[in-house]
Symmetry: C2
């Protein structure tokens, strides 16, 4: 069982990802594909006259403020356009894909974080009405039902809160949570850099291997921005039973084959 996370940012070659997924499926591998969609959500939000709003939390992280209108645009783009066009592309390659998001069958459940404490113009403010959350439970029954029947699940990063609200979740953490719940052999996170770099400005400074026990010190020393969530997700997934997590380049030819051949940053037990 391999859980693949791909897409969301710019620059990934999703044709190459789908073609590699099809190759793995042909070889008899069970695969779950988790995708993102922030970049396209931003583009369509702008076009619809509701531009994305990014805020800085009191702890210094930048994140999207997901008001209800943004949540509905996010659902439309990630669970509609991106998810269904990926399913279409995989079907053309002979893969019997089924697209879902975490709201379907309560696949991904968690706490909604409806209040954000942010810093704006040097002042702390409280922003209410946010629709984002962190996954706490993966209801694997539905995934196993589909996988055992030969389908390839394609998952959009929306979850459902305990109160039944759809919430925006991080795709990297979603892939990690799904990998852990399925006790996947590998979780492969494809991104638009070669992996974790010692120097973000220099792609030749790739860190090829990280022992799990030292992952947090690497996280503190080298990970910036979105890479932090990828490493954090990797640590969580491996503590819950995933054998290895590979963070690799999604811009290359055969990105999955290359990741499986050891390219990228491999986090090992």
């Amino acid at each position: 069982m391999i859980v693949v996370k791909a897409g969301g940012g710019k620059g990934l070659d999703m044709d190459a990802v789908c073609s590699d997924v099809a190759e793995l499926v042909r070889q008899g591998e069970k695969v779950v594909l988790v995708h993102g969609g922030s970049h396209e959500t931003n583009v369509i939000s702008e076009q619809l006259g509701h531009p994305p709003r990014f805020v800085t939390s009191v702890s210094g992280h930048s994140s999207r403020y997901t008001d209800r209108e943004t949540l509905e645009i996010f659902a439309m783009v990630v669970a509609g356009k991106i998810n269904k066009l990926l399913v279409e592309q995989l079907q053309k390659l002979g893969v019997n894909a089924v697209g879902l998001c975490g709201v379907d069958g309560r696949l991904l459940e968690g706490q909604r974080k409806d209040t954000l404490r942010i810093v704006e113009n040097g002042r702390t403010k409280v922003l209410r009405g946010d629709y984002s959350g962190v996954i706490e439970r993966v209801n694997v029954g539905l995934l196993k039902l589909l996988l055992d029947a030969g389908y390839v699940p394609v998952i959009a990063p929306l979850a459902i809160s305990y109160e039944g609200d759809a919430v925006n979740v991080d795709g990297d953490r979603a892939a990690a949570a799904i990998g852990a719940a399925l006790q996947a052999e590998k979780v492969i996170v494809l991104t638009n850099v070669p992996g974790l770099l010692r120097d973000v400005a220099d792609e030749s400074t790739l860190i090829p291997r990280i022992p799990l026990a030292q992952a947090e010190s690497y996280l503190d020393r080298y990970a910036q921005g979105r890479m932090k969530k990828k490493i954090l997700g990797a640590v969580e997934a491996m503590r819950e039973g995933v054998r290895c997590v590979i963070i690799a380049d999604g811009r290359v030819e055969h990105p999955l084959q290359q990741a499986l051949a050891g390219q990228g940053t491999v986090i090992e037990p």
Copy 2:
């Protein structure tokens, strides 16, 4: 087993539909909900600067020209926004809904009609690049897998062509095809009129019962516009084993309960 079609046009009370679906599910009934989305697709197409284009076929029918961009907007709106927000609403009512479209697991398959012969300014023209189709096969395996596991499928009207292209299909005909494939006891089509009317301008002229054998003569004499597809779908569904089709008012309180109590136009064997 009851297949319900609701939504697509204006005026339907989807809160009432969801609440009635929840009531049926609580009573132990198996339900599949099929929805539409043309009206909202038109609104969002306008907002995105790609307004809908309606054409008149040589046989005199008006239909949407679905170029690739329109297909992607349609997928986004019906399989993303409408489908997932319905699933969210049902989940809040305790219904374990799972949203799919016909591309998922090749649920709804058919021929893509990529060329339209239309009449424009009195002249016949050929319009290529259309992404619409008519459902020829329902792959019931996936639906039964979900129904048997206790999920309530919520289906968006996209199908997949034999070549693997996503295509726009009619929601009423989709519900009829699904009803037939599942050998449903009843197919209930909720709309924004009380049923088939003798005089479209007068809601008091409702035709309460139509024997299947006479359905086609009623179709020719009274059905106009979209009502034709509803009656046509009903006839097809009943010829393939559905016991009865009810076309009823979706604007009222408890629309499903009222339809099941015999309101609307009932097409019977």
